[in-house]
């Protein structure tokens, strides 16, 4: 098992009702797997929202294997101006 921390921004924060979430995940879990889990937890509230992902404050575009102690940020595009 690995322990990770999720930082929630904008719509993710409101959809999950939390600023941070600590999770224990199976070894080999990837960023795409985690995104699917987060979308399920949001009960459809993130269905129409694109999510950018940063691991340890570094933006990632490809599916990436998560490691113990990682901090993951989900960053939706926001449009207000």
């Amino acid at each position: 098992m690995i322990k990770i921390k999720i930082k929630c921004f904008s719509q993710v924060r409101y959809a999950l009702g939390k600023d941070e979430i600590a999770l224990e995940l199976d070894e080999g879990t990837t960023s795409d797997d985690l995104e699917k889990m987060i979308r399920e937890k949001a009960l459809g509230k993130l269905e129409n929202v694109t999510l950018g992902i940063a691991i340890n404050k570094k933006y990632v575009l490809d599916d990436t294997k998560l490691n113990d102690g990682d901090e993951i940020a989900f960053i939706p595009p926001v449009q207000g101006g």
Binding site: S10, A54, Q79
Partner: protein
Amino acid sequence: MIITPKELQSWIKQGKNFTVFDVRPKKEIKKNPLSKLDSIAGELEEYKEIKGIVVLVCQIGLVTESMIIQNELFDTYSLLGGVEAWTNFIKEKNDLSRWSRQTILDEIGFEGQKKIMNSNVTIIGMGGLGCPAACSLVASGLGALKIIDGDEIEVSNLHRQHLFRERDIGKKKVLSAKKRLESLSEHVSISAKDIYLNEENGYDLIKNSDIIIDASDNIATRFIIDKLSKKKNIPLVYGALYKFEGYVSIFNVNGSKGYSELFPGTAISSETCNDAGILGMMPSIIGNMQALETIKLIVGIQPNLVGKLMLYNGLLNTTQIIEL
């Protein structure tokens, strides 16, 4: 009281009777002499014996301002920007003393101020982000500003778009903004484009810009702006809002990442400011951060937000920097 170098020169030309009193230490006067201005030097006690109007001079204008306040001096002026502003004025016939509070910063100086005054910035969107960004840039001495927006002012804009007044409701945003911004500074040239930017008109609208500021309010326009910025190789200062949160970045500088690399292919977000709500201070904060990053780009100040995304949360008082 304050007098600018330009006003002081006009006193000289008018033959007005006054005495210039240099309060700097003799060593400093020797190092940086006051050119083309007759003056006497000495301590405050000696100054008190002078009759008539006196102009006090120090190196950057701050010592003399506080001397006047602390000693409740009458008929006495402090030369704004001090010897440094005067010397620059004599040398270049350009009075920069108005910006003396920022030119005394080592990171800005007269050279930085001149870069600001020679820069041409375009702001797309004259709403919550565009209003504070425009206001701060014009106040900082920006040379040329283009503002683009086809929208009209509504009563619900007034809590966050502080360039507009109740009497402006129903008027075109860019026209009211131009009027207000011109009253803030005679030094700026403002071009107002009462039109929405799109793929067809975009190239013409942004040409000759040194920097573009994305202050738009929808993702489709943000993608168009990013494309234009890349195509024309013009740095893009990005800002966006959601409730108590704001994003700021600088895109497309010497191949650095842009909006389309952040959200490749497409980006979908469910809510706008109108849907989600926004507290008026948030666009003021984020719009001013965009103006700050713009000034840093113009002057060449590091570090800046090139290749980084800053996420600010006004509710939690947190800031995160994500490396792109």
